[in-house]
Amino acid sequence: MSSKTLKYILKRILLAIVTVWVVITVTFFVMHAVPGGPFMGEKAISAAAQAALEAKYGLDKPLLQQYFTYLKDIVTRFDFGPSLKQRGRMVIDIIADGMKTSARLGVVAACLAAVIGIPLGAVAALRRNKLIDKIIMVVTTAFVSMPSFIMGSLLLVVFAIRLAWLPANGSTAEGLILPIITLALYPMAYITRLTRSSMLDVLGQDYIRTAKAKGVSGVKIIFGHALKNSLIPVITYFGPMLAYIVTGSLVVEQIFAVPGIGRAFVSSITNRDYPMVMGTTIVLAVLIVVMNLVSDILYKVVDPRINLE
């Protein structure tokens, strides 16, 4: 690894740390700028009870002091404080609970997208401008321009309600099939298009022509030379893909009633459960930032020619 690459990686890690800090700070101050405080909207409570509640959750201290306590608790103990609406539960426990389901959903969807998308893109590139290529391109274009909540609702109508093949409720293992498909379709279409265009790029390179001239067989050219190199741009998509899956899961879990972190997040917004909103935002943001970092570094390490800045 050259010193230039190392310098890039260090710079990138620094940026990621600053980004996470900005997310925490923005989230904290934005949530504390809400008028009325977290206990508004509940049953009218006496001033004494209000003061007691605020003292219990440390809301009576100066804002800056609250901020530093919050920051310290996160950095040292991953502690986001107690939930305001689910009494007696810590935010981090609720997140960990929801994460189990959501992680399964997201990982399976991501794998499905890669496993189907890459071969499909390769096939489209090899059969360029043939019928199969055109079909693949039309279908993926349609998938890419359909918001996930629409895709999810349509799948729900067709497969769960009209045909009744699969359950509409996502709390069982079988019920996760439709949410997984909903989440996987967009990244799959995107990966297909990405693989196709980078494969076409690679197939036009000199070394492929050399291999052909030497008499290397078509299959060997594709698997030995072309596919490996054409997957490099696909690596950069891993970060954005995760971000898509995280935000997509917010609506998909809503549609299919999956007991995951996305649904917990959305309901905490409507419930005004501020520690929960802050905690979930930060955890998901860290996840996305780290994934972006990993895919950027991987990209740079795999192909040092690339000048990212």
Binding site: V22, P147, F149, I150, I161, T247
Partner: protein, 351 residues
């Protein structure tokens, strides 16, 4: 031309041109400009042309249909002052009528059909879809303009000034760029919704609704970064051109050079990325509406219509399918048109 080295003037060179020679000088067709060239390429692209036509048709109908349509988007047809609520208007199937309307028809009067039926509150669904399209398009358009203005200003300042100014601006851009945008959008939208509501009460902006304003603010805060990066890159390369040096030598100020020389030269890049920003904004708006953070009720947007339709999904699936189709059609045609625009006006940008 004489190839001989001689001081004598070649008299042949000064003969009047013959008719044949004159014909060479006639301009056979008007010379083409950059814009004309691009338009020609664009119109040759069948996909882009069809997309453009679809966008124009959708935009015009969303503007003009509400003007003559006999129903309005927020009129509950079963609710009339002084009369009991007539629930026969709720949840009408397409081309069916409520009780009082059926009486009118029996009496020989003409009643305008409910093309898509009515929703659960007895509002004509067709006009709600049309109105929702109008809102979604307007949100997409104005959000892109906001992004354009902020991104262009910051990007051109960073690119032209260079040095420390550029460094600081670009670090800020880097950080905003690496923020998880959707999470921040949801966070800001949910908080702004609560803070802006009371602040706007009584002002002219109240009618637009706190949610749309907060959507614009969110776009203004978060989405200008890629535009400013793009423009900075353009300006950095344009700045080195000789005509900028010439202008500087003639005493032009920085703002003049940016406005008169640099921005016009990256205008095609700007237009293209603005065109591609619109579907993005429509997407985001519908996503937020779906989560309940979009436009204020009773105003419809395509996202909120789709989200409302989820409640009666098993009985009235068409109420979801119609706005879903319209969103997909708009986003798809804007994307395809943007791609065509890019291919036609800036072939170098093609990825």
């Amino acid at each position: 031309m004489s190839s001989k080295l001689t001081m004598h003037v070649n008299v042949d060179d000064f003969l009047p041109a013959t008719e044949e020679e004159k014909r060479y000088m006639v301009q056979m067709r008007p010379s083409s400009t950059f814009f004309k060239d691009g338009m020609k390429r664009l119109l040759h692209n069948r996909v882009a042309t069809v997309s453009l036509i679809i966008i124009i048709v959708i935009t015009l109908s969303s503007i003009f249909i509400p003007m003559f349509w006999p129903y309005s988007y927020d009129k509950m047809l079963g609710v009339n002052p002084g009369k009991p609520v007539d629930s026969s208007f709720n949840n009408l199937a397409p081309f069916t009528y409520g009780k009082t309307e059926l009486k009118h028809i029996e009496a020989g009067e003409k009643v305008f059909p409910h093309v898509f039926g009515t929703d659960s509150a007895g509002r004509d669904y067709f006009i709600r879809v049309v109105y929702g399209t109008r809102i979604s398009l307007a949100v997409g358009f104005f959000a892109s303009i906001i992004v354009l203005i902020i991104g262009m200003t910051v990007g051109s300042i960073a690119g032209y000034c260079g040095g420390k100014v550029d460094l600081i601006i670009m670090r800020i851009v880097d950080i905003i760029y690496s923020l998880p945008d959707m999470l921040m959008v949801i966070l800001l939208a949910s908080v702004l919704k609560l803070t802006l509501g009371p602040a706007l009460a009584g002002t002219a902006l109240e009618k637009i609704g706190s949610n749309i304003i907060s959507l614009f603010i969110v776009f203004g805060v978060l989405y200008w970064v890629s535009m400013s990066r793009l423009i900075r890159g353009q300006i950095l390369s344009l700045r080195e051109q000789e005509y900028v040096l010439a202008s500087q030598a003639a005493g032009a100020k920085g703002s003049w050079i940016i406005r008169k020389h640099l921005l016009p030269n990256c205008i095609s890049v700007v237009i293209i990325s603005t065109a591609l920003q619109i579907p993005n904004a429509i997407f985001t708006e519908s996503y937020l509406s779906f989560l309940g953070l979009g436009v204020n009720a009773p105003m419809p947007s395509l996202g909120s219509l789709a989200s409302d339709a989820l409640n009666g999904l098993s009985s009235y699936p068409f109420r979801l399918v119609i706005p879903a189709l319209v969103i997909s059609l708009i986003v798809l045609s804007l994307n395809l048109f943007g791609d065509g625009l890019r291919d036609a006006f800036d072939p170098k940008l093609r990825t």
